[in-house]
Symmetry: C2
Subunit: 299 residues, 2 copies
Amino acid sequence: MDFSNKVSIKEVGPRDGLQNESEMVPTDAKIEWINMLSDSGTSYIEISSFVHPKWIPQLKDATEVAKKIKRNPNVTYAALVPNSTGLERALEVNIDEVCLFLSASETHNKKNINKSIADTLPVLESVSTESKKANKTVRGYVSTVFGCPYEGDIDTDKVISICDKLLTMGVDELSLGDTIGVADPAQVAKVLEELLRYFPKEKLAMHFHNTRGTALANVLVALDYGITNFDSAVGGLGGCPYAKGASGNLATDDLLYMLHRMGVVTGINEKNIIEAALYIEKYVKNLSSNQMKILKSER
Amino acid sequence: MDFSNKVSIKEVGPRDGLQNESEMVPTDAKIEWINMLSDSGTSYIEISSFVHPKWIPQLKDATEVAKKIKRNPNVTYAALVPNSTGLERALEVNIDEVCLFLSASETHNKKNINKSIADTLPVLESVSTESKKANKTVRGYVSTVFGCPYEGDIDTDKVISICDKLLTMGVDELSLGDTIGVADPAQVAKVLEELLRYFPKEKLAMHFHNTRGTALANVLVALDYGITNFDSAVGGLGGCPYAKGASGNLATDDLLYMLHRMGVVTGINEKNIIEAALYIEKYVKNLSSNQMKILKSER
């Protein structure tokens, strides 16, 4: 096993976590919570989504959240942006990084974005170009890379083609999502083996879900391939939209436990992350991390 | 990553799982359940424990269980045996394999067995010798290899010395336990690196707990070191005795999901294991596997 001793964790709880909660967390609580995360030593927080509120009402307060949080100069504050209207809103509140998203599965993309992949790409290209003009970095989420709830296995060539298009339009980093948490370590090795023939490892981040318990094993393989960027959500927030009650996003606290014990430096204080998980726990249903289960047992 | 395409899974649910349940499962249910497991394609089931019933009342029916289960000739039926009285009972019902146990931590051993390690070893040696005379194979559980709830880190030299003594007294296989589920993949690599200098990999099995979510990542590393024997419990049965509500034994169903998807052959039918988990779920509290959470979401 050969791995970098430094890893960047991108905290996606406030966006990917909260968008899967049935109830909206009060805006003031979100702000206080994000401020706690800002003080944890993390270098990156995806704070919300500028999609139309009718699609994700839980995040309809994106503008207010972005305006009222205390900005830590060491943190990149990112948000999801689906189109030019969303970008306008994101730029108004001076978001640091713009996150685009599409799916590697045609069916999933249609169900999620209401457009074919071919029709999504020009929209993303225009958002990317405008973001760059505004001196923003751009991140591209590619979902269902390791399997789709509708189509099953996804051809890696399709993933490569989409990644190539995103990088060509100026995207700075790709986050490869195991949206339904089906990936196994051998598959992660196989997919990365292929992708790294075309793309430098610095351009890739992994976004694993722990639905079937394999997320940390998958992280381990990605580390071995030189990947140093990982997405995760405080407390395993958000659950799985395709299996209610199951785990969704890899929990930041579980990821930190493994990485820190392995001697990998993240810059993040585990205690602060646990405090942030305990804080948001009052407002949500779906905390599923192992560290939170242990904490609850000690109460 | 380099791993064997064939792995043996040792099902410890009926012993290690049920001994951590607060209520005793009715004997008839245990028997039917073990019969289901016998038909799953598994090659090994640890069916009970011949410790004194006052210590583990949940398993006081070991003799009746052993007598009444239907023996599949392809399955090794094992049981925990603490001393010569236990061995007598185990031999009476013709158990195939005798499992000894002790801890790599002095304090944990004292709390668990009420003896020092030095005082435990001669007892185990006598049980091992008598088992061999009765043509039984012998397995040795070494617990707290990766950390102790009382002593913290355990010196690997201590583990090596205990393993050496067990093998010298004729033990056929050692099961190295992460009793409180603290191990991380780098630690597993480090410990195996040392152990494999002294012992052939065929003599070692890994017994991981998933308390902090790292069990499958730890399995992956052990696979990479050529280990092909892993303990697990159907449905993640049993929980963690040191953190109520947290996960304990690595779940057989989660392990099968990962291994089979990686192309590793176990001979075990996943559907049968899920059926066995659904069966025992009626009697227990602590099913914590990811596969069971997904199943529940689909009901």
